[in-house]
């Protein structure tokens, strides 16, 4: 099995996390107002960009 590409993995995980949070919000399990949502959104986006940039770096 090939070594996993870390950056793609992180981006994928970030998207999955985002989806889970939105899903749970719809279900009503978590009560989240806009502020928290914005925080998670930007956090996921930031993490994904960072991982992608680091991934492009690896020689």
């Amino acid at each position: 099995m090939r070594r996993p590409d870390l950056s793609s993995l992180t981006v994928g995980l970030a998207i999955v996390l985002l989806g889970v949070v939105l899903l749970l919000q719809e279900e009503g399990t978590i009560g989240m107002d806009g502020g928290w949502l914005a925080a998670i959104l930007t956090g996921c986006a930031g993490g994904a960009l960072l991982a992608s940039g680091l991934g492009a770096r690896e020689p």
Partner: protein, 423 residues
């Protein structure tokens, strides 16, 4: 690689404790970005982030001198993505602080953060610009030396290749973005504070004044820019001349003087001329210095030169392809050297000795041809037999092959071949 990717503080480039600089080095970006992020987080958390910094200072070990030396330069790809990623992460942390009520006020934090990112962007860009200009002016000097010396024409004009134009456009737009961030931050602050309409009057007045001053001083800026560029060209030209003069003085003049002294000895003069020609040729070609201890092609050429020097017989070396030097190819070079020496000693009367080598994908074939008297392969005198055995034996031990073809009156061919991975 693992050394470079461990997180360490960087005490040498530190403003305080080197935590930000260390993070920046670990990520491979400009420390400005991490420092700005730190400042924004501190303001946003009302000072709480300082605790994080102190913890970092205490827990992250500092980089020792030798680690710094071993670490090489990291590449630049992906830098913008990393910086953007950090910016977004900082925003997300700020939002969390906001939710947790650890907050000053919207009107202050957001403009400050925006302005901080804008400043970081502009700073990084201008630093990159300065570095690049230094590299460029050195590169120009080198390139012009080769070009003008080799072509006896006026120094080459610098034409912008399409790739350069693209990079320049990217940099200009990044500058624009940075300025937009800072201006946007100022406007946001004014709007939040409710002073926007009042500010707009002041702003209008300010803009008018700035434009007026700009128009008045425009010719001054223009002529200064032109003078700078003219000075730079002049500097490059004089660097050129100095380099060419130094080189000619060191090598060519010496050789010419020597040749005049030894004018009676034809062979010696021819040898000096050949040596100087080769050296000047490779200097004009520019490029990297040959590495006969690391590259096979350079090693073969060096062997040919050595034999030519030692025996005064011209050797033409033509090498196609290249490969790094390893045990097997070192043996190949040694065998080639012996074959060349043989040819130069016994067979150089009728013409130059030819070395032709083809190197690709780990396999190599070297041909050494001469137009000497040739010999009958079955009737070798004892002293030459030993040499031949040593050539063949050396090659065989490393999984290579040797073929020697010769006949009386027809010159000699030696073929040395090395296949990839032994036989």
């Amino acid at each position: 690689m693992s050394e470079a990717s461990r997180l360490r503080r960087d005490p040498r480039r530190a403003v305080l404790g080197g935590v930000c600089a260390g993070f920046a080095r670990w990520l491979g970006i400009d420390p400005i970005i991490t420092r700005v992020a730190m400042v924004v987080l501190t303001i946003g958390s009302g000072g709480g982030a300082v605790i994080g910094y102190l913890i970092g200072w205490a827990l992250i070990p500092a980089e020792t001198q030798e680690q710094a030396l071993r670490r090489g330069r990291r590449g630049r790809t992906g830098s913008w993505r990393i910086a953007a990623g950090i910016a977004l992460l900082v925003v997300s942390v700020l939002l969390v602080f906001r939710q947790l009520e650890v907050w000053w006020s919207d009107a202050v934090i957001w403009p400050v953060a925006l302005a901080a990112f804008g400043v970081a962007l502009l700073w990084t860009l201008s630093r990159q610009q300065a570095e690049q200009e230094e590299e460029e002016s050195e590169g120009e000097a080198n390139a012009s030396v080769r070009a003008s010396a080799a072509r006896s024409m006026p120094a080459a004009l610098r034409l912008e290749a399409p790739a350069e134009r693209g990079a320049r456009a990217k940099r200009a737009s990044a500058f624009g973005f940075g300025i937009a961030l800072v201006v946007g931050a100022a406007l946001l602050f004014l709007w939040a504070v409710g002073a926007l309409s009042a500010a707009s009057d002041v702003a209008l007045a300010a803009i008018v004044v700035v434009v007026a001053i700009g128009l008045i001083s425009a010719p001054f800026w223009w002529s200064m820019a032109r003078r700078l560029s003219a000075e730079r060209t002049a500097r490059v030209r004089s660097q050129e001349r100095a380099e060419v003069a130094a080189h000619l003085h060191d090598s060519v003049l010496q050789t010419l003087a020597l040749m005049q002294k030894r004018a009676g000895d034809r062979d010696e003069v021819a040898k000096l001329a050949r040596r100087q020609e080769r050296e000047l040729r490779s200097w004009l070609a520019g490029g990297e210095a040959p590495r006969p201890a690391e590259r096979l092609a350079d090693a073969l050429r060096a062997a040919a030169e050595d034999v030519e020097e030692a025996h005064g017989a011209p050797v033409d070396a033509i090498v196609v392809g290249d490969a790094p030097l390893d045990d097997r190819t070192v043996a190949l070079v040694a065998a080639a050297r012996e074959a060349l020496t043989n040819a130069a000693k016994f067979a150089s009367e009728a013409g130059p000795v030819h070395l032709y080598a083809e190197i690709e994908n780990g396999s190599a074939r070297v041909f050494i041809d001469d137009r000497g008297p040739g010999f009958d392969p079955d009737a070798i005198p004892d002293d030459r037999r030993g040499v031949r055995e040593s050539i063949i034996g050396r090659m065989k031990r490393h999984g290579g092959r040797v073929e020697i073809r010769s006949a009386p009156g027809e010159g000699t061919e030696v073929e040395l071949s090395l296949e990839r991975n032994g036989r």
